[in-house]
């Protein structure tokens, strides 16, 4: 059964002459336990798809469902127990005046869950932090640690689906590796389904099994990550993206460029 399903998803902003359609008939299907990547450049609408699933936009048309349950335009509280999101910017996604403890406690209070202290300690350990971080403020943490906290906050409600919006693009390479490893481990251990948005083909082929390429609000190609690296992409735009990232990638020798 597919965990995330989007059928003929359309979304536009503005009215009349200023009408700007940002999503055109997007169809997506992500299986349970799968890790799916949405690739595209800025303005391609990849983040918009994520935000529709997260309930940030309410005027989409088409059909969306998570775990077989169709989404309403106004989402019930239970929805958020199933779907959580991790943001791109680790500096902006944590409340600057709340300690880590407050940030992690908040979702537990909202959903009326008990054994809060145990849950907070557990989740901190799961993301590779410990309880010495509990009473610190975000500005006392490094970028990588903040992103771990953001992941902990998303996972503390034990969701089935994690929406990842460029979770590592604001991080240094060495920290990115740590976070990608953590995400891979968590998916395996917690049986999570990932939908990840990124512009980095290296990251997407590392973490995802399947990839959809978006351009100007449309999905232009769907393929396996395996196929992506074996140059089996058929759409021109995908080939261009692959080529562009190959140009700077590890395996191309210097001579090829000159």
């Amino acid at each position: 059964m597919s965990m995330i399903q989007a059928h003929a998803l359309n979304l536009s902003f503005g009215l009349g002459a200023g009408l700007n359609q940002v999503l055109h008939d997007v169809n997506l299907s992500v299986e349970d336990g799968e890790s799916f990547g949405l690739v595209g450049e800025s303005g391609s609408g990849k983040t918009t798809v994520l935000r529709c699933l997260a309930g940030q936009y309410r005027h989409w048309s088409g059909a969306l469902s998570i775990g077989g349950v169709p989404l309403q335009h106004k989402l019930p509280k239970e929805h958020f127990r199933k779907v959580q999101m991790v943001f791109q910017d680790p500096y902006g996604s944590l409340h600057p005046r709340h300690t880590i403890d407050t940030a992690l406690r908040e979702p537990l209070i909202i959903h009326g869950l008990d054994e809060r202290d145990d849950r907070i300690n557990d989740i901190l350990l799961k993301v590779g932090l410990n309880d010495s971080f509990r009473y610190r403020y975000p500005h006392q943490l490094s970028g990588g640690q903040r992103q771990r906290v953001a992941i902990a906050r998303a996972l503390i409600l034990q969701p089935r689906v994690l929406l990842l919006d460029e979770p590592t693009s604001a991080l240094d390479v060495s920290v990115q590796a740590e976070i990608l490893n953590l995400l891979a481990d968590l998916r395996q251990r917690e049986k999570l389904t990932y939908l990840m948005v990124t512009h980095d083909l290296g990251v997407v082929s590392h973490l995802c099994d399947k990839v959809a390429v978006m351009q100007q609000g449309r999905i232009v190609e769907r393929l396996d990550s395996q196929a992506l690296s074996q140059d089996l992409a058929s759409h021109e735009y995908t080939r261009m993206l692959v080529q562009a990232s190959r140009d700077f990638s590890a395996e191309t020798p210097m001579a090829a460029r000159a």
Partner: protein, 279 residues
Amino acid sequence: MSTPKIHVDSLNVRFVNGKKVMHAVRDVSFSLGQEKLAIVGESGSGKSTVGRSLLKLHPASAQITAKAMQFGDVDLLGAGERAMQKIRGQRISMIMQDPKYSLNPVVKVGEQIAEAYLAHHKASRSEARERVLLMLEKVHIRDPKRVYNLYPHEVSGGMGQRIMIAMMVITNPEVIIADEPTSALDVSVRQQVLSVLEELVVEQQMGLIFVSHDLNLVRNYCDRVLVMYAGRVVESLAACDLQYAEHPYTRGLLAALPSMDNRRARLPVLQRDPLWLTC
């Protein structure tokens, strides 16, 4: 390599804030000829600080010391503010990360480039305009006359960065410092901007200092690479030899990059050695 354009010997930069002293750059030495020199490192490694200290673009709290900091016939270390003003923009130009913040939003882009030209050259308005149009053509802007009259918010990121390059290169500088010039751009336009920059550097025989966090980009684009960690240059090598890098930090960074063609279940994580801070 001809005589170096820039020669720096044990550059140190300290930021003093009350009693706290932050030693941002420690004993960095390099020389730049007519080549593309990359300075790579992670955030906080001091790579941008090195670029800026060459132009002395630092707040008053910064203390810059060095055994030597020579630019052609000018001693940058001893140069006063007035001498620096003559150098900045005319002999050494700097390209920043995001064109959105570097262009004045209420002045037409063409006028801004002309302004940069007139600041350093005696010329009439119409001459300057001609120069600007020529320059816009050189950075591969298709319809220079139309683009001349656009405002910064009307141009895309890639075009904005090419306009910045035009503005920085129009004065015929000897050295360009580019601080992450493409990290705000999409991959499809990144290529274009880089090749424009390369063309100009080769054609006008400039030296390029390319500050970046992106090892892969640098290894194909530049001639030489300085790898910085915690304010020090830990390794300096030819870009094509990057895969034979010896320093564990450089090797660790290379290994930690996820790659399309080399899929691994786990990425090796960089183990930081405290020894790197002292050697």
